[in-house]
C-alpha cells in the first residue's frame, strides 16, 4: 500500500526514490511500496506526457521537486522564465518539498548542465540569500538547499562550507537537504572528516537526506590516489550507508531519498536500496531509544 496524500507529513517513516522517466510507466503500473517520490522538474517540464503520469502518481504518493536548473549561486541572477515554468509545475503537483543545490550552473546565458563550486565569501552569501528569497517568492513556498559534491573548491573562500551553511540558515531561515553521499564524497576528495562534518552540520535545519552512488576514478590531480565522482550511477556504497546511520543518530529520523540518475537499474534495485535505508533507520531508532533509556 502506498502512502496517500493524507499521510504527506509521514514521509520520514519510509524512504523514497528518485523517479526518472524510464521508470515512470512501471511505477504507474505497479505502485511500488516506497514512501515517496522525488523528481527533477527539468525532466518533466519538457515532457507533458510524462507530466500527466506524474500528476496521476502525485495523487497517491507524496512528491518532492528537486531542481537542477535554478542556479541559485549565479552572479548573473536567476532564470525567471524557468522560475515561472517551475511555479506552474509546483502548483500542479503540490509537492511536500522543493529543493535545489548550493551551487551554480548558468553564466553569460549559458547553462553548463552541472553543479559548479562557489567561493564561500560574503559576496556569495549575499547573492545566495537574495536569490533564495526571489525563488521562494516566485514559488510561493520554502526552497530547501542541498550541500553539493566537490572535486575542487576555491582558494578565494573566506569561510568553510559549514560556516557558510550556518550563515545561510541564520540569514535566510532556510532549511537544508543533507546529501550524506555528498558529504562522504567531498570529505574524501577535499580531505576532511565527513563524520565531523555531520556533527557540525546545522542539524535543526535538516529537512531531508539524500543517498546516491558514486564512481571511484584515478585522480589525475594526485597520482596514485582516487577521486570519487558523483555519477549517481551505482548503488549506495558501504561507507555512505555507515555515514547515513551516523547522520540519523545525529539528526534523528529524516525523510530520505535514494538517487540514481545514470545507468539506471531495474526499479526493484532502487526499491531494495530504499528498504536498506529503512532498515538502517529502524536500527538507529532502537539505538536512540536505548541511549535515551
Amino acid at each position: 500500500m502506498a502512502i496517500t496524500s493524507d499521510a504527506r507529513l509521514d514521509t520520514a517513516e519510509r524512504t523514497g526514490i528518485g523517479l526518472r522517466l524510464p521508470h515512470i510507466a512501471e511505477v504507474v503500473a505497479t505502485r511500488p511500496h516506497v514512501g515517496w517520490l522525488e523528481i527533477h522538474p527539468e525532466n518533466f517540464l519538457a515532457n507533458p506526457h510524462g507530466l500527466e503520469s506524474l500528476t496521476d502518481l502525485a495523487r497517491e504518493y507524496p512528491v518532492s521537486v528537486h531542481t537542477v536548473g535554478i542556479s541559485i549561486g549565479s552572479a548573473d541572477g536567476i532564470d525567471r522564465d524557468h522560475l515561472i515554468r517551475l511555479r506552474g509545475l509546483v502548483d500542479r503537483l503540490n509537492p511536500v518539498l522543493v529543493s535545489g543545490h548550493l551551487a551554480w550552473s548558468t553564466v553569460g546565458g549559458a547553462y553548463l548542465n552541472d553543479l559548479l563550486p562557489l567561493p564561500y565569501t560574503a559576496e556569495t552569501l549575499r547573492v545566495v540569500v537574495a536569490h533564495l528569497a526571489e525563488v521562494q517568492d516566485a514559488l510561493g513556498r520554502a526552497y530547501v538547499i542541498e550541500n553539493p559534491s566537490w572535486y575542487v573548491s576555491l582558494a578565494t573562500s573566506t569561510m568553510t562550507e559549514l560556516d557558510f551553511l550556518h550563515a545561510l540558515v541564520d540569514e535566510s531561515g532556510c532549511r537544508l537537504l543533507c546529501d550524506v553521499s555528498n558529504v562522504h564524497l567531498s570529505g574524501h576528495n577535499m580531505g576532511y572528516d565527513p563524520y565531523r562534518f555531520i556533527d557540525e552540520f546545522p542539524s535543526d535545519s535538516v529537512a531531508e537526506l539524500h543517498l546516491g552512488g558514486f564512481t571511484p576514478e584515478h585522480d589525475d590531480a594526485t597520482p596514485g590516489e582516487t577521486v570519487l565522482v558523483d555519477t549517481h550511477a551505482h548503488a549506495v556504497a558501504e561507507p555512505a550507508w555507515q555515514l547515513y546511520a551516523h547522520a540519523l543518530r545525529r539528526f534523528g529520523p529524516r525523510p530520505t531519498i535514494i538517487e540514481w540518475d545514470n545507468d539506471l537499474p531495474p526499479l526493484a534495485v532502487l526499491i531494495e536500496e530504499a528498504a536498506q535505508a529503512d532498515r538502517i533507520r529502524e536500527a538507529t531508532r532502537e539505538d536512540r531509544h536505548a541511549h535515551a533509556g
Partner: protein, 198 residues
C-alpha cells in the same frame, strides 16, 4: 580578490572551451587541482553530447552514430544550452549538422533531423490544440522516417527529390504524418498562425 562573476566566467571558459588559465590559480583540490576541473569539463561535453545523440535516434539510424556523435561534440562546444531543460536542447542542431563538412554528401540530412526534432517533440504532446507542425520537405523524408518509426525498413530505398507538404500530429506517443497538397498546407499554416486549429 576576483568577484563571483569573474570566477564563474573563468570556470565557464575552463569547462566549455578547455581554457583553464584564468581559474587555475584559485582552485584547491589535490596536488594539481586544475586537473580535477576536467571532471566538470568531461561531464559538460559527455552529458550534452549524449543528450543530443539520444534526441536524434532516427538520424543515428540513418547515418550512423559516429557521424552524429562527431558533429554533436562540436555543437556542444560551440552552442551551450541556454535553458536547463536539456530535452529542449538541440533545436539548432539539424541545421548545424546539415552544414557540417562531415555531412557534405548528405544534402537531405538537415531536413531529416529537423523532421525528427518535431516528431520527438510532438510525440510527448498532451494538448490537442498545440500538437501539430507543418513542415515542407525537398525529399521524400516522411517515408524514410516512417521506416524508422515502424521498424519496416526495406532492403533498398531510393530517396526521391520532390516537394512534400507535411502535417505532423502527435499525442501521447501516437504520431500521424499526413501529406497535404501545397494549397492545403498553405491554408492550414495560415489557420494555425491566426490561432485557429483544425
Amino acid at each position: 580578490m576576483p568577484t563571483l562573476a569573474d570566477v564563474q566566467a573563468a570556470i565557464r571558459h575552463a569547462v566549455v572551451d578547455g581554457d583553464g588559465a584564468a581559474v587555475a590559480g584559485v582552485l584547491v583540490g589535490g596536488t594539481h587541482p586544475e586537473r580535477r576541473l576536467a571532471i566538470h569539463r568531461r561531464h559538460y561535453h559527455a552529458s550534452l553530447t549524449r543528450a543530443l545523440v539520444e534526441r536524434f535516434p532516427a538520424t543515428v539510424w540513418l547515418v550512423g552514430s559516429e557521424l552524429v556523435t562527431h558533429v554533436a561534440t562540436s555543437y556542444v562546444g560551440e552552442h551551450p544550452p541556454s535553458r536547463p531543460c536539456i530535452a529542449e536542447y538541440g533545436e539548432g542542431f539539424p541545421r548545424y549538422l546539415g552544414a557540417h563538412p562531415s555531412a557534405a554528401s548528405l544534402p537531405y540530412l538537415a531536413q531529416f533531423a529537423e523532421l525528427e526534432w518535431h516528431v520527438g517533440r510532438l510525440a510527448l504532446a498532451t494538448d490537442a490544440s498545440t500538437n501539430v507542425q507543418y513542415v515542407h520537405l525537398d525529399w521524400s523524408l516522411d517515408e524514410l522516417i516512417g521506416f524508422y518509426l515502424t521498424d519496416t525498413a526495406p532492403d533498398e530505398y531510393a530517396l526521391r527529390q520532390e516537394d512534400v507538404w507535411l502535417e505532423v500530429r502527435g499525442l501521447r506517443g501516437e504520431l500521424q504524418l499526413n501529406r497535404l497538397t501545397s494549397e492545403e498546407f498553405a491554408g492550414r499554416v495560415s489557420l494555425q498562425s491566426t490561432g485557429a486549429h483544425s
